[in-house]
């Protein structure tokens, strides 16, 4: 990332379990407004738009649908469809579009409503044809298969993975918006929670919630006029390898490894140099593999890393200080963007009650599908 684009605004909705008839478009509008207010931008100043692959049940013409609802007339609009990596994927795409001269300030927005009866997916794809008929529906089984393979390869213990969930819950106690605020869980609680798909316990799995997240990425010129300290994109990396877990070339290392290497290479930093780890955590195994793929510990060595480091805001390796998705809740695709928004708060010095001291740089990761879609960002505080 050679350009000077920066994140100048963020918005976040407090997650809820049910939205009672509120539509996704309404939530997109509310969180977009919050991000624009934060950035000190009038709607007319927003000329780029990146959205997720559908709003509610509408799978097509999504950018136009959102632009129309918001009254925007962007000169660059697109869908980013990378599952949990979509949020991070939007940030570098926005910066690239600005560098290409297509626009000046890009709204990146993801939100989801949530009602009682979620319709079953109408998907017709290889997973539906070749996995579902054998009893493997949904992400839980895929990540259980990744975790079992990781345990078998390295002999890691159930407590090691559970410690990641307990740390996320502990961090959520510093975030009043987190769905598990006021509800800490110990390692013992995690291990005592029901087994969903062995070896995955219930509390090692994110809770689905409704919510919304937005960031505004702007040119260097606009960032200089921003009321808040801009947060710079120092490096980015991405890799997409597969959709179905059966097609993964490795079960114990993922595409985040090369994505993070590229991001760090662009930033001229190493994983040990960053002050905050904002790592995608749909399941405990995802954090374990990411710590190892980042080179923060050897393959199979994440257990010692999480035992030997404090993962809180005041610890030696602050990790997901907002509680992560394991503690905050997972508002569908917006869940991945929580890791961007929290990094921005920390790098601005605005993470009230959980501020990492002198936070200058952060690693943000996004992950989608079955550890097959990966985006990594290195973000830096204003000089």
């Amino acid at each position: 990332m050679k350009g000077q684009a920066a994140i100048v605004g963020v918005g976040e909705l407090k997650p809820v379990r049910r939205t009672g008839g509120v539509t996704t478009l309404e939530l997109i509008a509310r969180v977009a407004r919050e991000a624009a207010l934060d950035a000190g931008l009038e709607p007319s100043g927003i000329d780029g738009l990146l959205v997720g692959p559908q709003v509610g049940l509408t799978p097509q013409h999504v950018p136009a649908t959102v632009a129309e609802y918001l009254g925007l007339k962007p000169t660059m609009a697109n869908v980013v469809d990378l599952g949990g990596a979509s949020g991070a994927g939007m940030v570098w795409r926005a910066a690239a579009a600005i560098d290409a001269g297509m626009c000046d300030a890009v709204l990146c927005v993801l939100a989801n409503h949530r009602d009682d009866a979620a319709p079953r997916s109408p998907n017709r794809n290889p997973i539906r044809e070749f996995d579902v008929p054998f009893g493997a529906s949904g992400a839980n089984v895929s990540y259980a298969l990744l975790m079992q393979a990781h345990m078998a390869a390295y002999g890691c213990k159930a407590e090691d993975y559970a410690r990641i969930a307990a740390a996320a819950r502990a961090n959520a106690q510093r975030n009043p918006d987190a769905i598990f605020y006021g509800k800490p869980s110990s390692v013992e609680d995690v291990l005592a929670s029901p087994m969903v798909a062995e070896p995955l316990h219930l509390l090692e799995i994110v809770m689905p919630v409704a919510g919304g997240e937005a960031v505004i990425v702007a040119s260097a010129a606009r960032a200089r006029r921003s009321p808040r300290p801009p947060v710079h994109l120092l490096g980015a990396g991405e890799k997409v390898t597969h959709r179905a877990v059966s097609q993964a070339s490795s079960l114990t290392s993922g595409p985040l490894k090369p994505a993070m290497a590229r991001a760090f290479g662009q930033a001229g930093l190493g994983a040990r140099d960053v002050d905050l780890l904002s790592l995608y955590d749909c399941y405990t195994i995802m954090v374990a593999t990411t710590l190892e793929d980042a080179g923060l510990c050897p393959p199979g060595g994440f257990g010692a890393f999480v035992r030997d480091n404090g993962l809180g805001f005041d610890g030696t390796a602050p990790l997901n200080t907002h509680g992560g998705q394991l503690g905050f809740g997972q508002p569908d695709l917006a869940g991945g963007m929580t890791h961007v928004v929290e990094a921005v708060r920390q790098l601005r010095g605005e993470a009230h009650g959980r501020q990492v001291r002198n936070a200058r740089t952060a690693l943000v990761t996004g992950n989608g599908a079955t550890m097959g879609e990966a985006t990594a960002l290195v973000l830096g505080a204003a000089a």
Partner: protein
Amino acid sequence: MTDALAGLEVPGPTVTPLTEPFWAEAGAGGLSIQRCGSCGRAVFYPRAICPHCWGDALRWEAASGQGRLKSFSTVRKPGHPGWLPAAPYTVGLVELAEGPVMLSLILPGPRPVRVGDALVLAPTDIGGRVLPVFRLDATA
């Protein structure tokens, strides 16, 4: 277990003209995979071109039915409600002797399975369709 599986009301495969030979062979108790006429590598799931070299001369062949368990999970809370009567049941990633990996059901055996176990094809009626599932290979 196998009677219970036959009685399940669960989604079957969404067969397409290209994949029909795979499911026809599965229904007959076999396992068909593709092999690329250009690079010689085996391919699963069935595709229009070889994902290794993009050759388009893929031909069907009978797989040996031998495999190795790369990973597995015993599912206690199924993602699809139709599978509830069968829970807990085990699914696994089976590395076929020919090379590709497929996800399949692993039938209960004389002992719990472990990563690395040798498996063998054990065609089984699931919800009224014979599917290519696997069990521990007692001869291995």
